[in-house]
Amino acid sequence: MKSSIKTILKYSLLLISSLLVIMTALVTTLRFTLLNSDYIKNEFEKNNYYKKLTTEIKTEMSYYTNQSGFTDDVLDNVFTENDVQYDFNRYINSLYTGEQFVIDTQKIEDNLNKNIEAQLKDSHFKVNTDEIKKFVKQMTTVYENEIKLMGYIDSVKNLMFKAISMCDKVLFSLVVGLVLSAFIYLKLFKTKDLSVMFYTPSMLLLFFVLYFKNSIDINNISIYSELISHIIKELLNNYLNIICLTSCSLLVLGLIIDILRKERRRHRHHHHRSSSEEV
């Protein structure tokens, strides 16, 4: 093969492989963080979200008890933190699987009715059962809305499911492409300049992180509530930190390849010299 064609082929392969490494790093990180329901649930748990959400639901419900004529005690033991955690986790799962999500509010209704009965026993109010039913319905609606974050994420439900399946396919293609290009490169050029395949993604990923940290005001992002905003900020920062860590790992990997490769060459040279001396 002509040396100029060989050089062009070598650099083209290096460029393609570098791009494949970058894409693989970005997509893999995405797949195992933002597109992974277990990771997301873990983040919510880490931030004590279920406890805070339980308080949030009770506060939201108390706004309606103000106008209902009942005291806030009517909400006592209507639901527990475990109920909230169970329902919220099911909701997160449904976002990632695309399944229909329905909350069974029967237990809440029963407990609420029991408390209402107890409060009405000693009161002088005229009771309108229709208004009581509407009140109970409103309370369960508040519970459902708070669990489902007012349906804000519902619109991306199908998108999320599609994104995961697309992400898996893309990841598979990237890995196959990467293995193939690396194999061809090793076959044709051995390990010469192989480290460039790791240095380039390392530099680009670092650029990606710096660019996003400078152009996106992550720490002031405000979505839905303070708590959700805090978790989203943490998720984004974690994603960028993992990318940053991957960038450093790729740099180290490149350096290791370079150092080992040099040592092998020196060893071969040394071996060649000692063989000549023997002759």
Binding site: L14, L15, L19, I132, D193, L204, K262, R266
Partner: protein, 216 residues
């Protein structure tokens, strides 16, 4: 000496490869800049739309005063701030008014619906309150001709009750219209007030401006 040379050679090779990587990176960034810059900018500005300045950096001393010629406030109260109190002496109502009528604010006082006029601006003012004893429980007892006073941080205004009504909440939202040319105060609360449960009706009080009270 030989080892020193080897290290130098090794370092030179690494620097050379890093230069190639740098060139590749610059080339890819250049290509991205040509083909994807506008999409990238749109995505970033979209994400940044969710970024708001924190309260500590955005809060400053408000200058809430009425421009009497333009009949407009020079600066408006922040959402969630108390800016007035409302008094109806005939039924013993005396309650603070917050700017905004979110349920979290109504827990503490009456709420001025953001988007309607402020007292003194010459348009419809909509104020909601819970039907609790510390707010508008006694509102259904009000009579036509009763006086209402709103003491805002920028002035004091007197109104007179002209009409009352009871509507379904859904109808109230549909029928409500904002008048830009005549100052009208609308107070409302959930109805009925003496039964427990979820209220779907609204008791509404309409009042007209009598004038600004000069406190000097």
């Amino acid at each position: 000496m030989q080892m020193h040379k080897n290290i130098l050679r090794k370092a030179k090779a690494i620097v050379k490869r890093l230069m190639i990587a740098f060139f590749f990176s610059a080339f890819i960034i250049f290509l991205l800049g040509i083909f994807a810059q506008s999409k990238l900018n749109t995505t970033i500005s979209l994400i940044n739309k969710f970024a708001v300045l924190s309260e500590s950096t955005s809060k400053k001393e408000a200058n809430i005063k009425m421009d009497k010629i333009k009949k407009r406030l020079i600066e408006y109260p922040s959402y969630g701030d108390v800016f007035a109190s409302i008094k109806i002496p005939s039924i013993g109502v005396d309650v603070n008014v917050y700017h905004g009528d979110a349920l979290r604010l109504l827990k503490y006082g009456a709420g001025h619906h953001a988007g309607t006029y402020f007292p003194g601006e010459g348009g419809t003012i909509l104020i909601a309150g819970h039907n609790t004893s510390d707010q508008f429980e006694k509102l259904p007892k009000v009579s036509i001709g009763d006086k209402i006073t709103i003491s805002a941080v920028y002035g004091k205004y007197k109104y007179i009750v002209t009409d009352t009504d009871i509507l379904e909440a859904s109808m109230f939202n549909k029928e409500l219209s904002i008048n830009d040319n005549k100052e009208q105060l609308i107070l409302y609360t959930c109805y009925p007030v003496n039964t427990p449960g979820f209220k779907t009706k609204r008791f509404i009080v309409y009042a007209s401006l009598v004038g600004e009270v000069d406190e000097k």
